[in-house]
Symmetry: C2
Subunit: 143 residues, 2 copies
Amino acid sequence: MKPDDRVIYFAGSIRGGRDDAAIYAQLIERLKKFGRVLTEHIGAASLTDGGEPGLARAIHDRDLEWVSASDVVVAEVTTPSLGVGYEIGRATEWQKPVLCLFRTGTPRTLSAMISGCPDVTVREYAEVADVERIFEEFFAGLR
Amino acid sequence: MKPDDRVIYFAGSIRGGRDDAAIYAQLIERLKKFGRVLTEHIGAASLTDGGEPGLARAIHDRDLEWVSASDVVVAEVTTPSLGVGYEIGRATEWQKPVLCLFRTGTPRTLSAMISGCPDVTVREYAEVADVERIFEEFFAGLR
């Protein structure tokens, strides 16, 4: 699949905590080389842990429709997040390729439900520059 | 369904953070009135955010099999958790009844993917005693 044709859903923590928002923005910038990213707002500094305005049901239905419409899901999983976990659970049921990125050098331990899930690809990175190689390898492995 | 016949999967944060472990234990004690709780260890004080020992794949497969074998999932969702979100995502795909309990009086805001999900029942509680009525109503509403 050519990058022009590929649709990517990027998942990162919002109400779970915005500690990594700046990193999400940098990952999204690098992801754009590989496809169209539906969820650029996840990286926006203006988005706080209060969440997006609007009815939760509308946000849920829109995001789930985006997951459904995407060719691949890329999730940053260092900051624990119910929404990101939920989206990974639905995406694996729908047999979407899922790449989970976990940053080393923090006190966090990744959930065994993610690190032990046979239907997702988990890659650790120390700094954002590392993800370029990870993305190259992951997308090259997809049809 | 009689309590003797009902199997309940209780979900709470482990590697996402154990701030609420004592509350999980109290919820599980009250849940036992309504069925057999498969995951009593979630409330154990000895279980830290380092997680259970053992291979992540074995933990994932066991927990997912337990979700699959359960009649209902009850999740405490105040502390954000990838694993809890993942299990809710899989359980909703499998059309399991899911009850999510969110504690008020904390700085947390519940994920819109949970509060806006039409396939889960979300109930807020201020203290553990409140859940007795919530459990009575929820289980009475199931077949």
